[in-house]
Assembly symmetry: C2
Homo-oligomer: 425 residues x 2
Amino acid sequence: MSEKTFALKGDICYSKSPGELRILRRGYVLFRGGLCLGAFDSPPAEFGEITVKDYGDSLIIPGLVDLHTHAPQFVCRAKGLDRELLEWLESTAFPQEARYGELSYAEAAYKHFVADVVNGPNTRMCLFGTLHVPATKALMDMLEESGLVSFVGKVNMDRNAPAYLCESSAGESGDATVAWIKETLGRYRNVSPILTPRFIPSCSEELLGRLGSLQKGYALPVQSHLSENLSEIEWVKQLHPDCSCYGAVYDKYGLLPEGGRTIMAHCVHCPEEELRLLKDRDVFIAHCAQSNVNLSSGLVPLRSYLDRGMKVGLGSDVAGGYTTSILRAMADTIQMSKMYQCCGHPEEKPVTLKEVFHLATAGGGAFFGRVGRFERDYEFDAVVIDDSTYNPLIELSMEERLERAMYLSEGSHIVQKYVRGREIK
Amino acid sequence: MSEKTFALKGDICYSKSPGELRILRRGYVLFRGGLCLGAFDSPPAEFGEITVKDYGDSLIIPGLVDLHTHAPQFVCRAKGLDRELLEWLESTAFPQEARYGELSYAEAAYKHFVADVVNGPNTRMCLFGTLHVPATKALMDMLEESGLVSFVGKVNMDRNAPAYLCESSAGESGDATVAWIKETLGRYRNVSPILTPRFIPSCSEELLGRLGSLQKGYALPVQSHLSENLSEIEWVKQLHPDCSCYGAVYDKYGLLPEGGRTIMAHCVHCPEEELRLLKDRDVFIAHCAQSNVNLSSGLVPLRSYLDRGMKVGLGSDVAGGYTTSILRAMADTIQMSKMYQCCGHPEEKPVTLKEVFHLATAGGGAFFGRVGRFERDYEFDAVVIDDSTYNPLIELSMEERLERAMYLSEGSHIVQKYVRGREIK
């Protein structure tokens, strides 16, 4: 009990479950040593002396979690979005990523990315880097310094990629990955490595096998892409005719480790068998609504994923998406869920504000452990939003304030962020 | 030739046609007395002495036009968007509009709306007010003062509305409208009245007839809503079983005057006959992509409207939409056009950046006359965007810069706006 106890005072709101908000007007959320002690109408005596930071009528919500984004593509976001996935990779993403072979470019570019995220509402992220180890380590160093919590992946790709962005062999890719793991695993307080095969078409079978071994050997989590685009799915089928679905290829090589250690981004066009596999393997789906629109990937049957009890979080997927903010991802998720219903699925009710807030906090947070709620022994991540400037001349319930915060908040409205109890803005 | 000639220097881009951008890097766009003289690589000698305002590498584009929005709903934007149109009107829009019966509230609230638009990229608008004449006049006074150019409508509604927001009779509504027209027509330099029946369900036949007479008598333009939502369309069918489609009701009462004097917002679910009527009557469609999503109205076959040569501009439709910016409306239009293709219409190519830029400038601008291009004798409206802050470490073509300006610009990036040659920011 040597550490001090703190409280943030304000209008507190967090998701207890997909259907339930907990709301405390002018309440207190307590934390000590980076861990939450709970949210209360008034501070309980049991916690002794408390240092209170009073944020007035500001909204205080858990930090938002981005389960899928590409840090190197940030500087080329909002570019070339008239193409679908495979063409866009060739025209826009790959040439941009190649520049990270030059460390000084990487350092300059990642600085913009990290500054943007620090300025926004996200507190945790799962990130793709590039295939370059020095650049990826530079990104990890910067993220550690920022106080944000993240998993970061050195990307693996040894085939079906332009020569300027392709590792020369599975051996080279695997060896570089081992060296990178040894240098980064356990090195940081806030940053951890995650295995990151780009996607099935980019990885030879030998490389997939090697990554599967590394997963076992180092007990690392895994992130990749799955069933995003119809042409991509067809390509995977041609490359792996022995596998019954796209997801089965990852599974064949041991890349869907159980225990909630895997994130698969997109999952737009999953056949029934693939969904069962993801559920069996306890895989997190990173739902990337904006990217799925920008690259014309399609609308996702998100309601049915929730009904099945799939694990789902939200992803900004920069630069298929053009904004890092998970508040915007929440809005896009609701909007595209409405369009899914409009387009021939009248029985599938759109996801609600409460549900999408849950996905953005506790949903994605679960990948990081006990994260995303203001409850005892959860890690303490919080975002303080001054919503007074866009709420003049109107009376609002707390749920309505949350709705408006989702649609209307910009970086300037976020007055403070806490990650593991530390102020980071 | 007593007036001075000015030029803006910068990276100029405007739409010559839906398929063609005109681009001048470090070019000059000239204007005099509120009218454009054209865009040039260097200032032609024929114009004599010119005062040049150099905006460096900033983008200079024509002012953006918002063909449909509800000024009184601005303060309640981003609220209650889990409902469809008719429910949302009852729960959110109508109670908000009722507050404008109090002039002091209206003045305070409209101030926020006008400030937001001045800060953004729009230079011209077609606006709904409320049914209240004093509040609507206050809005017109503020808009005049701002320098923005607008059509503003006192709303007519005498049935199927809650008692707190319903005119007591067609006679009262019509008389108030006449009084309002007499006070406002020709009074302003930048603001003009426009006839504004809310939508068919809100207006008795007697009122529709009276408005039709006023249209003829005063040669006024008309704005309303059309075929936005399936329940609304069904309701109109029940109210007017003699009319073959929703649009035919407006036409029956003389409210689709020819000559490009009418705007119909939404047009999501128009049957073939209705589209033919709109084309025959030279009606402008205000395409409101974000609102159509937020209120689950549906996806619009926009490609087919363009192929038919319909007149189309963009609308923010606050507060079905939650942002006034027509840059955001451009992005939403492209996104929803992609989703329309994805959802069962593979033959309908999404609208392109060039096309949507055309709709946002010259497309909507045509409702105001010669507006939306940097060409001789067009009215001179321009927006200067400093896009340097979000374009570090990347080389971009002018078209790519326009794409990024659409997706990434916020108010702070808009360094100056000109309307009819006057600086207004």
